[in-house]
Point group: C2
Chain length 209, copies 2
Amino acid sequence: MKIKDLPENTLHRLVIYLNVLDALEKKKVDSVSSEELAKRCGVNPAQLRKDLSFVGNLGTKGVGYSVKSLKFSLKKFLGRTEEWNLVVGGLTPLAEYLINNRDLQKEGFYIMSAFDTRPEKIGLIINGVSVYNLDQLSYVTKAIKVHIGIITSEDKPEEYFQAFLRENIRAILNLSSTPLYSENPEVKIENFSFPMALTKLSFFLKNSS
Amino acid sequence: MKIKDLPENTLHRLVIYLNVLDALEKKKVDSVSSEELAKRCGVNPAQLRKDLSFVGNLGTKGVGYSVKSLKFSLKKFLGRTEEWNLVVGGLTPLAEYLINNRDLQKEGFYIMSAFDTRPEKIGLIINGVSVYNLDQLSYVTKAIKVHIGIITSEDKPEEYFQAFLRENIRAILNLSSTPLYSENPEVKIENFSFPMALTKLSFFLKNSS
DNA sequence: AAGTGTGAACTTTTTCACAGCT
DNA sequence: AGCTGTGAAAAAGTTCACACTT
């Protein structure tokens, strides 16, 4: 099974399983069946087992799954036993929130520096993270390996996007409300914005009861 | 075509189309073909046309789509011509970011109040939004119609979730890192967390080049 | 006895290809 | 002539059901 064959929805569910397992572990649950875990995740048990089969033979027939070891296998599979270096494009309030958020570090995501194009933002240091002019990005990528770029700028998301691509940052979390897309399969973009998430809810509300 | 038949992925893409159209409108683009719009959204043109056919007959054969009127049709279809009242569960830094964020209001999403269970948070007023004890939620839902609940609490997401359900808040944006799920089809939950989004990227990085 | 892992059946979604309108 | 809207075909994803292991 080649990795590129992992369906996007399966990846999405694997991430859910990991997080639900984490919650179970905190509740001191040792063992779980596909039926029970699937129920907590809102999926069909057969689907959960098929999803997990992409990762490996992780359960014990007749018994179920060990919460701890399944969680570890998923973490490993998803690249979450490694540490990742991030940069942020646009020193917006959302960027400041992310920079001040200790949880990301705890999960292995390290924000190394931030970039902006507005003179009044350049030179600031927030929670130990320096803000540089965007045109200095290449100096940073020469000094350290940058794995992920986060775009928070609302007015020029494209500008940060292009700068990230130029510096060969191929994994991008775009938090601006303008979805970004690249046809280059070497580039992976996650688009998320609060208005977009809320819009799915407004559609639901408009069409219910 | 019943609304419940709208596939989740189609809804997701309609939201993308709306946002890309918004960007096009700002660039003063008047008209667009399915091929061009699809390219910008990273989808197949036939898929875009089929997705739009859930909304109505929106284009002109031989010509294409008017950016302005297609955007309006989508906004209407997605419930974004209406205004929605929101409450926030958990006065975390993320909650404060959302409360201070003017863009949500501009898009028709109004945060009416915030709730917490920690005594030191109760009574605060942030950007005009009052913070109440969670057990006061029912007074607020009696006074105003609350459409959407946003969960930002990391330690007790379930507690806010249950409180929202008790008050018949049926559209929930869960920003905690514990995914939530309900089997009640009257309840719609959007789960998002930064670590979950970044995990999809770490998986991509782990398996590329 | 219980519950996983998985081929096979089924369902849904995507893409093709073209009729039909402007 | 050009591009939409949509049945039909193809592809993908989900669920079933059971052989198999502990």
